[in-house]
């Protein structure tokens, strides 16, 4: 559609399909296209390159600017990673540990997924690879108790960063969401001076259920941002546009692969450009 020289009704339909194909959802896609269609009447784009830029800018404008990590007074930053099953929380914990270690910080990781088979072993590998100190209990133990011990360890060691890896859980499971609220409660009580960030880890291949996930987690435990993973695939992750519109939540980082280096800061213009590619 960007290759043709003419803008007609078909153009707008095709542009809407690109946004729908990117998982933005029909509502967001329709509103964005309606808006640039009105703008195009006042300032007609000279060519398809200019049309693409208009669309890219419109998408980028929907995103909330990501807060800069590290710009606060607290000596300890706590990253509470939550999300549904299999989205990449544990791997992201490893990537964050690498980033913080490279920046010269001391890192503690809490193996707070006490439920899933080999969850503790998996995060232990990441702690080992990144030099982070791991706090873990036995499998089947209380997740909040792990968080409690990890908070104590972070204080005792004067850590700069505490990363909490939690078990995946579907947002429809009330007892599991309640458990998460309890774990966060332990962190806020034990580390009142810390800069606590609750980030929802979401898979870029997720469809419209991603909106339900974000609103449910935000409502139950409060969220400060999203990490969108698996952007090295063909999915565009447009669901975060619908999430931004509904919740005002920023995307803070993007997962772009399976190694510890594959974590980049979110940039709305780059994200919008990649969505349209």
């Amino acid at each position: 559609v960007f290759g043709r020289g003419v803008f007609d009704d078909e153009t707008w339909d095709e542009l809407e399909e690109i946004l729908i194909g990117a998982d933005m959802g029909l509502t967001a896609a329709t509103e964005i296209i309606d808006r640039i269609r009105r703008d195009a009447l006042r300032h007609p784009p000279g060519d398809s390159g200019e049309l693409k830029e208009m669309l890219q800018a419109a998408i980028a404008a929907e995103m909330i600017p990501a807060p800069i990590l590290g710009k606060h007074d607290a000596s300890l930053t706590v990253i509470f990673l939550v999300g549904v099953n299999g989205t990449g929380k544990t791997t992201t914990a490893g990537k964050l540990a690498r980033r913080f270690a490279d920046a010269g910080g001391t890192v503690v990781i809490a193996a707070a997924d006490t439920f899933r088979a080999a969850a503790i072993e998996q995060v232990a590998v990441w702690a080992d690879r990144t030099g982070a100190y791991l706090v873990k209990h036995k499998r089947g133990g209380d997740s909040a108790a792990v968080a409690y011990d990890a908070a104590a360890a972070a204080k005792a060691r004067g850590a700069d960063y505490l990363i909490i890896d939690t078990a995946g859980r579907l947002q429809t499971k009330a007892p599991l969401m309640e458990e998460l609220k309890k774990v966060k409660g332990v962190l806020t009580r034990e580390l009142p001076e810390a800069h606590l960030l609750s980030w929802l880890v979401m898979d870029a291949t997720t469809g419209q259920n991603g909106l339900a996930q974000a609103t449910a987690f935000a409502e139950k435990i409060g969220l400060d941002g999203l990490i969108l993973t698996k952007l090295d695939g063909t999915a565009k992750g447009g669901i975060v546009v619908a999430v931004a519109r509904a919740t005002g939540l920023p995307v803070v980082m993007l997962g772009t692969g399976e190694t510890e280096a594959d974590l980049i800061d979110f940039d709305s213009n780059n994200f919008a450009a990649a969505l349209l590619d």
């Binding site: 899933r116 072993e121 291949t205 469809g207």
Partner: protein, 291 residues
Amino acid sequence: TLAGRFTDILAGIRGRGRVDEKDIAEASRQIRLALLEADVNFKVVKDIVADVKNLALGESVLKSLTPGQQVVKVLRDELARVMGESAVQLKIGKKPDVILLTGLQGSGKTTAAAKLALLLRREGKKVLLVAADTYRPAAQDQLVSLGAELNVDVWRGKTGQTAIDIAAAAVHGESGTQPDVVIVDTAGRLHIDNDLMAEIVALKSAVKPGHILFVADAMIGQDAVNQASAFDDALDFEGVILTKLDGDARGGAALSIKRVTGKPIMFVSTGEKPQDFEVFHPDRMAARILG
């Protein structure tokens, strides 16, 4: 719900007795909205809307229904037709029959391997699980742990072996357990990762599985078609295991995958416990997608 949407728009045209062009234009819009919200791929939605339009305008619709009811019936029948008429059985062949599980990262393969093992053992089969994911940290530990919980043997080969070495050894009887069925768990991989797609194709050649199942997450959106087509082109899989159906994702990916590859959904995973696994029923999925 979709039925709810139709009741509203078509309430005003009750008297006419047969569906006409104007009725179908608005109905098409509502069908498109409902299916896109349910994560059905937009190209598949276009095809379905066109099919429903032709069928609803045609003569084959029951005269005893109102126009609204006719359109909903045509849509329900069309979705059921696309999903498949009935459950497709996994037929276990001569021993050792090999089932290869593949799919994208985090879709639920390792968990599904254990669940499928439990289901087959309950049917009286001796199963060997093969932990052939050599990439993800503690992936083999995960399957060994699941196998131990279920009392199912797990083969993990030796450290440093490749996925192909491990799987081939198990299939060629090196585990000494003489299973009826061997289930091979593999690493999650992107359909656009040429090296890893080449690896899974090579693995297929090496172990000659009787069954290849693509494991897909029920909450996938528009990308389902890209993933499934690529895996089907590379491997010609037999069917799909759809996971995480215990959530509230509508599961439109199931419809897209079936429509585009023609391959049936064979099993669904409905929770994190080993028993949360069953044969797929197409009519239930159609109802879920329509909401």
